[in-house]
Structures are given as C-alpha cells and as structure tokens.
C-alpha cells in the first residue's frame, strides 16, 4: 500500500469572501482515516467562512464508505455557510446518486443527562436481579435433578446405561493422566517437606502416618475433585451449550423426552461412579509418590 501526501485529500484556499476546499486523490475506506483527521484539522479554519466552495476536480475515485463520509461532511459544511459543489466528476456523481438512496443520518449520541448518572446504580440493580434469578434457576435445577433420580429409582429400566458409560469414559478414564500427575507431585511434595521437619526430631518413621493419612483423607479427594470439576464442568457446559444451539434439546422436549433424565442424570450418575474410583486411584499414586521420597530421603523401605 502506498501513502500519498495527505494534503492531497483536502486542501483549502481562502479568498476575501469565500473558502475553496479542494478534494483530491483516492477517497476510499482505507484512506478515510487520514481524510477524517485532516478534515477535523481544517474545520476550525473555516468556521467563520461566509461562503464555501467544494471543488471535486481532482478526486480520482470514491467508494461508498467515503461517499457516506462526504455526504455527512457536506451537510455539516452547509450548516456553517452557504456551500456550493463544483467540478463534480461523472463517476463521483454516479456514486453520489447511488449512496444518497440509502444514506441514513446518524442519530445524535445521547449527551450526559441525569439518567446516565444513574447508570451505575441501574447496573447494580440489574446484576442483583440476575443473581436472584440464577439462584432460583439453580434451586429448580437441583429439584428437577432429584425428581429425575427418584423417577429412575422407581423404574430402573429407564436408566440410560449407554450414555452413562460414555460419560464415565469421558469424565473418568480420560482424566486419569492429569489426576495421576497432580497427585503424584503432591505426594512427593508433602513427603519431602515433612521429611525435613521429621528428621530434626528423629521421628522418621512417622512419615508413614503423615502420607498414609493426609493423602487419602484430605489431599487426594480435594485435588481430584478440583480437577474433575474444572475439567468435566467446562466439558459439560460446552456439550450442552452446543445441544442447545443446534436445537437438540428442543427436539428432545418435543419428542416427550424428559431432558433431566436424558441429559442431566446420566452425567451426574457418571460422576458419582467415576469420582470415587478416580480418588482411589489418586490415593495410590499419591502414596506411591510419598513412598519414593521416604525411600530416598529417609531410607524407609516398604517391607
């Protein structure tokens, strides 16, 4: 892209009673940025003009966006003084007539009023109301899920085994690597930090209780829960969001399928089955991590 001397776009010449504005160059959406800033610079100089002449002789070409700008500019100039347009090229004329057909004067942006001062308060109010509705929706979600659970218990044959299995795979099996990595590292860190302290008191052997109790009781469940909540929570949001957009959910509703039984309950059930197993797995890996450190740091062997 080449840049021409921006003076070429708008050039003004003053005489005693009139101001001549010469427009020139290629007026396109790409050059419009410089044209606009040039125009803003020129505007104060012609504020006191009695008569304005717009000379378009040197305009090489103009596109629709630039023409929209030109029409706005011309009506602004008309407000300042009597404005005349001369030397209009044919091409320019054609474009002008065409754009004139759909040119829409802009609405005035609202100036700061008393109402706009209240804007922050309005926003707080709207936020509060939306939180209220979120809570209501959440409660109704829990209630409807519970009903779906009871319905399934009443008629166990209606339990969606296939969907549940798929979800156990996607939330449980595929989460194994990341759960293994984090619980292994936590096992190592806990063992390492306590080894340093325990050594001072010669209480090396208590590292067994330290790891054996803190990991299965506190750390492994916590870490696994956080990972699964983050990982599967967002996956569920994406899955169900897409189903909503592609109207799958609506299709289910119209076919009389209770979506809590078809969409929600299989996922909750999958979590209820997968999470304890994952935690058990995290226990083992975490303890194994601690065991390694105990062996290397404190020479405590398992056997």
């Amino acid at each position: 892209m080449f840049f021409m001397n921006s003076e070429e776009y708008i050039d003004i010449e003053r005489s005693k009673e009139s101001v001549t504005i010469r427009l020139g160059g290629i007026w396109s959406v790409e050059s419009l940025g410089s044209i606009e800033s040039l125009y803003k610079k020129v505007l104060p100089e012609i504020f006191d003009a009695k008569k304005i002449v717009l000379d378009l002789k040197r305009v090489e070409s103009i596109d629709t966006s630039a023409m929209i700008f030109f029409i706005t500019m011309r009506s602004e100039l008309k407000k300042i003084a009597d404005t005349r347009v001369i030397n209009t090229p044919k091409e320019f004329c054609r474009m002008f007539r065409m754009v004139k057909r759909f040119y829409t004067p802009s609405y005035r942006p609202k100036s700061a009023t008393f109402a706009s001062l209240l804007e922050p308060i309005l926003r707080i109010g709207k936020g509060a109301v939306s939180i209220y509705y979120d809570i209501v929706l959440f409660l109704s979600f829990i209630g409807r899920s519970a009903i779906a659970v009871f319905d399934t218990l009443k008629r166990p044959s209606s339990f969606r085994i296939k969907e549940t299995a798929v979800n156990i795979y996607s939330t449980g099996v595929t989460a194994i690597p990341i759960v293994a990595l984090s619980s292994f590292l936590v096992g190592i860190v806990i063992a390492f930090q306590s080894a340093v302290q325990l050594q001072k008191y010669g209480a090396n052997i208590f590292i067994v209780d330290m790891i054996g109790i803190s990991i299965p009781r506190e750390l492994a469940p916590l870490i696994t829960a956080i990972i699964v909540a983050g990982r599967s929570g967002s996956a569920y949001t994406a899955q169900i969001g897409v189903m909503k957009i592609t109207e799958e959910i609506d299709a289910m509703k119209t076919m009389g399928f209770e979506i809590f039984r078809f969409v929600v309950f299989p996922r909750i059930a999958a979590m209820m089955i997968a999470l304890p197993l994952l935690i058990f797995f995290a226990d083992i890996i975490g303890i194994y991590g601690g065991l390694l450190v105990a062996k290397m740091q404190l020479d405590i062997t398992p056997a």
């Binding site: 790409e30 754009v99 802009s106």
Partner: protein, 258 residues
C-alpha cells in the same frame, strides 16, 4: 473482460475420498457466477478453497491476479480485504450486536472516529434493506432473512470487488428470497461487484445468474450461460432442470425468445 478467478486442474482429496478430480473454471469481472451441483458434490469445499480457508491437494487457483499457492502472508491479507464472504448461516458474531458486527472490520483496520463508523454502518444496513435501528439487536433476536442481510452488510462494509455467497437464499421464505435476489442484482449494478454464489434456488438461477458451473463426478460438467448449460446432457442437469418449476420457467424462456 478481466478474469477475476481462474481455477486450473484443481484436485481435492480428503483421506481416501476424492472430492474434486480436475476442476477448471473462470469467473470474469462483473459476472454473477453460480456453482451448481448435487449435495456433497463439493461446492462448499470449492468455495472454501477460493477464499483461502482450505488448500487444494493439487492444481492452481488465481484470484484477482494472485496465485494462491505462492501468495505471501502480506499479499494474502491484502487480498482478503478485497472480498466479502456471506456464509451459509450468516456466521454473525453472537456476542456482538448487528451494528458492532458490521463495524468490526472498520474498527480493526481503519482509524475512523466512532461517529463516522456509526454513520457508515447505519447507511450500509439501509443499503441491504434493513431498518438501521435493527443494529441494536443481537443475532439471536433476528429472523433468518435479517441474519442474511446483516451478514451481507458485514461482507460489504469494506467495499469489496468480489463477493462470495454460500446459498444466500436457502432457508428464506420465497418472498424474502426474491427480495434478496433483487438486492444482489441491484448491488452488482450499483457497485460493479463480481459475485460468486452457491445456490440450489431455481428462481435465483433464472433471475439473477449470468454464468454457472455445474459440478459432477469431481469435474465441471458444464460451464456457461443458462442456455448453454441446458444444452448439455448430464444426469444432474436433466434432474435439476427437470422439475415442474424449472420446466415452467424454461417454457416461459422459450416463449419469450420466439
């Protein structure tokens, strides 16, 4: 007339499936050019190759004098600012209002003031036949026809030379479809656009299109004006133009000619 798009020996292969064997076609300046073909014949894929969303497995594509195979990053960027694309389902940005959707390009690539951008956007909405106040709505609040029109306004915001339309009238009611066809012809004559479109719409083909290419078995089985295409004997052409609606139109065309 200048050649805007040239495709030579284009081949497309997905895995072990060959979609295009050997596609050759030429679009000239100022034409409204349609790509026809059965479902799955590779029309959308061909369009995606033209707009650099997909690389063909072989062959050459030249657009506005640029070879897409050897084009540099910078030239590609410049080329993209010379065409507008209307996707089949509009592809409006859902998190933005219509006005913001249309303004996105202007905000990103020009240094224009908000007031000027708003002015341009509102005028362009009017140009595609929308009430400028529609600009305040979000895409989810629009009807099908309004979505297509808004997307068209977005495609036209940078005054492109070339416009790609993927099934512009599909999913519209006949009245909106006809209005959309009219709008496209109008824009072509007003702005001197070259338009490439995919369509199944018999009315669009008879009312709007200058030239067309019919895809079949991975090739262009017929290229030319409607009359030229009708002369070719091919199962798809026979079937496509053998329906009652098409037959009536062809009769009317013959009556007019004689």
């Amino acid at each position: 007339m200048k050649e805007i798009i040239k495709m030579r020996h284009v081949r497309t292969v997905f895995g072990d499936k060959t979609v295009h064997e050997d596609v050759n076609l030429t679009v000239k300046e100022g034409e409204i050019y349609a790509i026809l073909g059965g479902s799955g014949s590779g029309k959308t894929t061909l369009l995606r190759e033209m707009i650099m969303l997909l690389r063909p497995s072989g062959g050459e594509i030249e657009i506005l004098g640029q070879n897409l195979e050897t084009i540099s990053q910078k030239e590609a960027q410049k080329l993209r600012s010379q065409w507008g694309v209307l996707f089949q389902f509009g592809a409006l940005f859902t998190s933005l209002t219509v006005e913001e959707n249309v303004a996105v390009w202007l905000r990103e690539y020009t240094s224009l003031s908000d007031a000027t951008i708003r002015q341009i956007v509102r005028s362009k909405l009017k140009m595609v036949g929308l009430d400028p106040d529609v600009g305040r709505l979000y895409p989810s609040e629009l009807s099908g026809g309004m979505v297509k029109r808004s997307a068209l306004a977005r495609a036209l915001v940078m005054d492109p030379k070339l416009l790609f339309l993927d099934e512009p009238t599909s999913g519209l009611d006949p009245v909106s479809a006809e209005a959309f066809d009219e709008l496209i012809t109008q824009l072509r004559s007003l702005l001197g656009l070259t338009i490439v479109m995919i369509t199944h719409d018999i009315d669009t083909i008879f009312n709007v299109v200058d030239k067309m290419a019919v895809l079949g078995e991975g090739r262009v089985v017929a290229e030319g004006s409607l009359k030229q295409v009708l002369k070719r004997d091919h199962p798809f052409i026979r079937k496509f133009f053998g329906g009652n609606r098409a037959k009536a139109r062809i009769e009317a065309m013959k009556m007019e000619a004689s």
